[in-house]
Structure formats: structure tokens, C-alpha cells
Symmetry: C2
Subunit: 331 residues, 2 copies
């Protein structure tokens, strides 16, 4: 294992500390327990948004803390759910008196720990709702998950719900928007290589030089099938078609297309995949109205990508376009 | 070799086509010869900025075309200089009547081909100047290079010269600003793994599981030495100290610190390196006034990073802070 780290047990602390130093204009980093909140604290009267999950998926979630997106993010250990004792103070930090929405990717540990933290916050008089993101069409149930996994669609939920909170929607309305995004977003990924969690020291699974895994999870969980390496257009078809069919994308749909890198894939390859995914969508009559291409929900140094499609409506488009100022997403 | 490509001979064309589709609001993609220019064309009266080089370093350069940065970018084949017959029309496209600055990384092929293109443009009545970026302190002379190589410091040259052009500086002034940035910026990189050029099909060099290359070039050119894998803090010291000493960074200096990923390194690791590089700079009394952390000048899927330091003055800081709206850099 070759990694730019000092000590596997310190990598999250040191990385988040570096993140806080680099982005002191945007975020404040809290230690013991570790969480990241907006510099300047919660805006009074605004619904607070909190997300989090295991580390190793950067820039998710800390990279999305800032104006128009999250109020706080809670990084767990690598590929390990954050604990309630970290989520609870993050919830307090995000509270501006209008309640807090937890945005939780659908992994059993995350769901349980956010639930416990919500109870703790409720005991402190903070109203908390939650939305469970489950956009991965690859498999029903999986390692760590009952039901579908939450993957790159989380970026769309956080961006759009964040814009709704920023414009002044109340907690029920922000929650409804987040659920509407989740209901209209689907993803599927592929791994060309595995990744190595620092404290494990060995790859989390094995792929030979000749095979890839279609439907991979962001922690290397098994997907739909292993197949021999194939051209990008064939792989893109295998990712995009299930997403389109699950969503029922058809003639008049306007969509957001996100091609997300898993961390170790060159940007040039992501644009090759984007080109083909877009053609497939357009071949179904859909219009790709918005696009995002890059590393947003990663799996350490895994090579591979995912294709995410969000069916847009006028309001979701407006909220997507609204200003955002975070370390990883800004316009 | 597992890559998300269809055909090694088509990967640049398909990738740039995808890039153009994803960012049609920002850029226009020209084919045969291939180059990327700003959507809407050159602004009359503004100095035009053109850069380019071998592909495989994305988002450099096409990701930096747009308001406040480049007017056109010319991608060559993978790790191969673009040809004069592509640079020349890009120069014409960038010309708003106030002349064009070529920003050229110091590789022999790039320098020669940009020179030839400048002569072609001059014959068309376009005044062209050029700045050669040579920020890599690792080695004097190298594979493909006489003198120092141009690496991640190029981002600072393109950003700051772009802002100078945008505010209305004339060609001599924009050229002087670009040269001032180049004179005050230094970089050094490390590779933990090699990378594979698609048409070659095999890694461009070999590193064992136990060793890393200090001072690597962005095409995998040899650096200063191979050493056993070491903790991130030691590696960061080996990159940052030569940069600081070459620049003569001392007590009252304000600097920009860029920690650049080579393409295959997790963002979490880049922040570990950032944290330590910042401490080293602060230990010398310098103030890290501006920061950038991410994948900006990559080497395909290479694992590793580079540390770049730019000595700032008030004007360079103002120009760095000026608005930029490109695919890869935006504020």
C-alpha cells in the first residue's frame, strides 16, 4: 500500500485539519468529536442541513459545506459511519432555529447513527427530519445496506435541498424537495480497480487485469456482475440504460447528467463516458439540460465512474442553478 | 491496461467532444484541427491568451478556457505536443485585435511548435508574444526538456495573466505579468505509481510496490531520486523545502500554496500534504494567503502530487482573486 498518509489512524484527522486550513473562509473544523460547519455559524431562521458518512468519498461531504448547500458535515473513519456523538453537535451547530434536515446515504450504520443523533437533538429541542438517499439502481440490498444504496445522487439532493433552505423554505418544504430529488435521481457505477482502506492495508476486493465490476458500490460492495474489460461505450451503455429505465426517462424529459469519477480515473475518460451517456439519453428523446463531470463521490483511489441522471422540473432546475459556494462546488 | 476509452487513437477527440457538450455555455470545440475556444469568440480589444500541450493533464488546458483565463487551448495527442497547424487557428480565434500571448510549458516540442505557430500568426498580421513556464525545481534538463520543466505553476500563470488581460492590460503588460508569475513560482512532484498512455498500452515507467520517485515529471520523466515509500510528512518536506529554498521564501512573504493531484490520488491525501506543506511554510515565517488543493495538472491516473508555491504581491493577489469562470476553476 502506497498512500500519502502518515498513520492510518490519523489520516481523517489530518486530512480534515488540512481541509479546514485551506478553506478557512468557508468552514470551521471541530475536533473531538470531529465535524465541519460553516464559518460564521448557522444563519438564524434558515433550515439547517447536515450530512455525513464514512470518509474516503471526498469531496463528499465536507466539500459541500457552504452557502447554498450544507451547514455541517460529519466525516466518520474511512468507510465507517460517523457516530451519534459527532452527528449530534453538528446538528446543534447547523440549527438556526428553524429545524435541521439530515441527508443520509442508505447504509445501515449511517441510518441508525443519524436516527440516534436526531433523538439526541430532539431532546435538546431541535426539530430534525431526515431524508434517506437511495439512488443506486445496481442492486436491492447489499453489503451494509437494506434496500438501495445511496451514491452520487447525494450531490444533487444536497445541492438542491441546500438551495431551498437558502431561499427560506421551512423544514417541511426543504424535506419535501429533498425527497423529490431522491425520487427522481438514479445512479449506477463501475469499478476498473479496487481501493485500499488505509487501516486495512490491502485492497477491499480483487479484480484481475482483465475484468471489471458493473454496479459496484462506493465501498467496493459487489455489483451486478463481473465482465471482461470492454470499450467505454459498452460500459457506459451498461450503466446508463438501467438508470434510464428505472427512472422511466422518455421523450419530453429534461435531465441533469452527472458523470462521477471514483477517484482514480483521469478526467479525460470521464468526458468520454459523458459523451456517450448523453447520446444515449438524447437517443431516448430526453434533453440534457444540466451537466456535471468530475470527482464528487469517490472511493479513495478506485478507478471507475458512475452515471447519475436526475429528472428535472422547473423548480429543481432553478434550485440547481442557484448560487453555491463550497470547496468542491461553486457557481 | 484498463481504461474508460474506446480506441486509443480516438480518446482525445472523444474526450474533447464530450467536454464541449458538457460545457457548451463556456467553450466551442473545433475539430480538424482540434482546439477549444471561448463560446462567443474573442472579445474585441482584449489580449488573447492561448495555451496547450499534450493531452493527459486534464483539466489543463481546456478546463481553463473562459472568462478571466484562457481564450483558447490546443490539446495535442496524449503526452504529445500540439502541432503548429492547430495552434495557429487557435491563435486566430483568440485574437481580438490586441495581440495574443502564448503560454507554453517548457518542453522542446511545445516550444518549437508554438514558435512556428507564432510565425504563421505573425504572417497573418497578429502580434504574438510568448512566455515559457519552467517552474519545476526538480531537475535541470530532462527527457523532452532543455532547462526546467513546466508543471503545475502553469495554472497560476494562466489564471493571473488571464485576469490581467480581462482588465484591459495591453500585450506587453500581460506578458510582463505572466513572466512575473513564472519568476515567482516553483513546483516539485512525487509519483507513487506510473501511468499508462493509451496508445502505448504499458506503464511509461516502473515503480516497485516499495518505492516512489521524488521530482517526477508530469510525463513520468525521471526525477531526482527513487526512495523507499515514506510517511506523507517526510515526502511533503522533500517537495516543499527545495521549492522554498529555490524561491528564497522568507519571513515577510505572502504565498499561494497549490497542492496538485497527479490524477489518481484521493483528495483526502492531498489535504494531508497541504497541512504539512503549510506548516513548513509557516515555519519559515511565510503567510499562506491563498490556497488551491485538487487535480489541476495531472498525469493520467498517476498516483502522487506536486507542491507549488507562488510568492504573491498585492497585484498578483488581486489578479488571482479576480473572477474566473471556466470548467475547472470558478469564482
Amino acid at each position: 500500500m502506497k498512500k500519502l498518509i502518515n498513520d492510518p489512524s490519523r489520516v481523517v484527522d489530518e486530512s480534515v485539519e488540512g481541509f479546514g486550513l485551506a478553506h478557512a473562509d468557508l468552514v470551521a473544523v471541530h475536533t473531538d468529536p470531529i465535524f465541519v460547519s460553516r464559518a460564521g455559524g448557522a444563519r438564524q431562521g434558515k433550515v439547517g442541513l447536515v450530512s455525513g458518512g464514512g470518509s474516503g468519498h471526498e469531496p463528499l461531504h465536507a466539500g459541500f459545506v457552504g452557502l447554498g448547500m450544507l451547514d455541517a458535515a460529519v466525516p466518520g473513519a474511512m468507510f465507517t459511519s460517523p457516530t451519534p456523538d459527532a452527528i449530534a453537535p453538528a446538528t446543534v451547530a447547523a440549527n438556526g432555529g428553524a429545524g435541521v434536515l439530515h441527508i443520509v446515504k442508505n447504509y445501515t450504520g449511517d441510518v441508525l447513527n443519524f436516527e440516534t443523533a436526531a433523538e439526541l437533538a430532539d431532546a435538546d429541542g431541535i426539530e430534525v427530519r431526515s431524508v434517506i438517499v437511495n439512488d443506486d439502481v445496481a442492486v436491492e440490498d447489499s453489503l451494509y445496506t437494506a434496500g438501495r444504496r445511496g451514491v452520487a445522487g447525494t450531490v444533487a439532493v444536497e445541492k438542491i435541498a441546500g438551495a431551498a433552505a437558502e431561499r427560506g423554505d421551512d423544514l417541511a418544504a426543504v424535506t419535501a424537495i429533498a425527497e423529490r430529488v431522491n425520487a427522481n435521481v438514479r445512479s449506477m457505477g463501475v469499478a476498473l480497480s479496487a481501493c485500499t482502506v488505509p487501516h486495512a492495508g490491502v485492497p477491499s476486493f480483487e479484480l484481475t487485469e482483465a475484468e471489471i465490476e458493473i454496479g459496484i458500490g462506493i465501498h467496493g460492495e459487489p455489483g451486478r456482475r463481473r465482465i471482461p474489460m470492454a470499450p467505454a461505450d459498452e460500459i457506459t451503455e451498461m450503466l446508463t440504460t438501467p438508470v434510464i429505465e428505472d427512472l422511466g426517462i422518455g421523450g419530453s424529459d429534461q435531465v441533469l447528467l452527472l458523470v462521477n469519477g471514483m477517484g482514480g480515473t483521469p478526467l479525460s475518460e470521464l468526458y468520454v463516458v459523458y459523451r456517450t451517456a448523453r447520446r444515449i439519453l438524447e437517443g431516448r428523446g430526453a434533453t440534457v439540460a444540466r451537466s456535471l463531470v468530475g470527482n464528487y463521490v469517490t472511493s479513495l483511489e478506485m478507478q471507475g465512474c458512475s452515471v447519475t441522471v436526475l429528472r428535472l422540473d422547473d423548480e429543481l432546475t432553478t434550485l440547481w442553478d442557484a448560487p453555491v459556494h463550497t470547496a468542491a462546488l461553486r457557481w
